[in-house]
Symmetry: C2
Subunit: 368 residues, 2 copies
């Protein structure tokens, strides 16, 4: 043993080929040799080397602990299934609120003056609210019936609500191309619906559109299937249910309106560049989200490009379901970005100090 | 408007001071001026500018959506409370398994030959297992009564199990100083126990020690209190229950054995360096974990150092409860590190390729 073993990994190979007995193990532990060797290894290598250096009787006890961990994880599977039931009990309660949101966004209902006051709005907003309350009561005393009059001089509902939400959601904004925008202005609603079949667990994202010139579908769907059970080949790696596959839908494009075809041609033309962009940036149209990559049966690590594409696709689906759909209005206003900021890599977001400065310096510079 | 407005933030200030009416809004939308301005802004600034540019009637509808989001989040609070109940139903089931793990770790029980076979062990391990089964059956035909004999020639249980687990857990290994190690070899068990009081939600971490020369406590405790409700000053930022404070315990150090005092002196001596290390690295002893920082009532942002310390402390507690305690054996062997790798920033971990190489190149080099 000596300098040679200090090179990464060699020590692990050494102990693999020279399993120590207890006397040697004790001698190694006491000599400090192990500690100085560990210093040159990564955490995972240190752990593997330590495990390999153990006497076989201790390794046996470790295997007994693995069997116990296996039982622990089977309990976790049960727990996650119960959790899915609990979640589905809340789906209906949420649906009522999301339906009301959709009706306001589309302009089907006009919120009453009271409903448009929000206790935490800043001063300017409150002024606006008062102004709005006055103006909406001036024309017609009944707020409910005033919506027809309002439409003549004011926009209906919240124009481009869902497009704006998607443009302000960090993972999603990267896959929206300028050519997609006119089609996405027709988005009426985005919903996440649990898959009800007992054998299949997962959820369906539903993108509802107004009639538009691009395609004839009323709803575009994307399904995510979740695996709840332990993987037989690596059960101890279990970390809760995960997406195992996704399924898109056929978009019935009108003639010459296929946004995925158009942008595909564009991309081919510029394919001379050397830069390799990550998947999310090389997506040719937002609508390719409905034609997701499919997993293969090849072992992990053989196709890292595909694996990255799959992971990005699954991340997008979960992100829409867990964050964007339930918190849409705060993505619209940008307030949700603070939360995403904490969750994601802070390097993805520009310096917050700039924001603070610009907010505080309202009175500087451009006074009228 | 013009180049001046393209500087970050100025456009937001402009629209704040010049709220537009609907006619102007439509003109702005159609002119493309907004789009070119947005290009120079961060995502959050774009969102704020877009919101500010909306006609007041649309802002009113947005506020109505905020009220709906508030109701949605109140449902989430209910959901998380139900989830806590569901979790506590699983605590007892897990406890039985964790107690058995503790008994094997401490050597109180010796697993049977069958219990030490794990179907996914590599070949060498299986050989060891067979060897162990033979040797443990040679001396005494009853595995249960053989433990006394084993103790004479073999280590009891799994020596240094919990110290090894902590040393292999990314967030924790950074706060273990060399001086802490002799004391941490006496760790018998680490448990997470829910706080049972109805008014208080949270959990207690219990570090059980063998009698040792450092302190007289049998168990060191750390409590984490969770806030489940929406924060009144910022309800829409709700993202599930979060730790609001933590509470340590008094360590009854034996004379001249206080590891926090010793290392504190050491640190003072070297305080001339200019480098500012993150909290987790500047912790002077692992045992300071039981004397956590306390939140103040000052507004957020006024004491970023303290806020970072608090966040680190809460992260450590959650990480121990959620990952390290339930998956201890795979932290011991290093297998859990792949999982942490996916969850955390990949930059925290050295190149995986090295691992792969060293695993595959077992037959190269050092043949005997």
């Amino acid at each position: 043993m000596g300098t040679e073993l200090r090179r990464n990994g060699n020590f692990i190979n050494y102990v693999k080929k020279n399993p120590v007995e207890f006397e040697q193990f004790e001698a190694l532990q006491n000599s400090g040799v192990l500690d100085s060797l560990y210093e040159s290894l990564t955490l995972k290598e240190t752990a593997a080397a330590h495990y390999q250096s153990l006497p076989s009787i201790v390794k046996g006890r470790i295997r007994a602990l693995k069997r116990i961990q296996y039982e622990t994880l089977k309990l976790e599977v049960q727990f996650y299934k119960e959790l899915a039931k609990l979640e589905s009990r809340f789906v209906d309660k949420h649906k009522q609120l999301f339906d009301k949101r959709q009706a306001i966004v589309s302009g089907e209902i006009e919120p009453s003056a009271e409903e448009t006051t929000w206790y935490l709005s800043d001063d300017e907003d409150v002024e606006c609210s008062v102004k709005f309350m006055k103006s909406s009561n001036e024309g017609d005393s009944s707020v409910e019936t005033s919506s027809h009059n309002l439409n003549k001089t004011h926009p209906k509902g919240i124009p481009g609500f869902w497009l704006t939400v998607l443009k302000h959601a960090p993972l999603i904004c990267d896959i929206i191309r300028p050519a997609d925008i006119p089609a996405l202005t027709h988005l009426k609603d985005i919903r996440a619906v649990p898959l009800e079949n007992n054998d299949i667990m997962g959820f369906q994202l539903e993108f509802e559109f107004e009639p538009n010139e691009y395609f004839t579908n009323k709803v575009l769907t994307k399904r995510y299937y979740l695996g709840y059970e332990l993987r037989e080949d690596n059960p101890l790696s279990y970390d809760g249910p995960e997406v195992t596959s996704s399924e898109g839908c056929t978009i019935n494009w009108n003639p010459d309106r296929d946004l995925t075809a158009i942008s595909s041609t564009k991309l081919n033309r510029s394919r001379t560049g050397e830069e390799r962009q990550p998947y999310s940036r090389s997506m040719e149209s937002f609508f390719q989200f409905f034609d997701p990559p499919q997993p293969t049966s090849t072992p992990k690590g053989t196709n890292p490009d595909l694996e990255q594409k799959l992971m990005d696709d699954y991340d997008l689906g979960q992100y829409l379901k867990e964050r964007v759909i339930p918190r849409a209005v705060t993505y619209f206003t940008g307030e949700a970005l603070d939360l995403d900021n904490e969750v994601d890599d802070p390097d993805d977001f520009p310096d917050d100090d700039l924001d603070d400065e610009s907010d505080e310096d309202v009175d500087d510079g451009e006074e009228p």
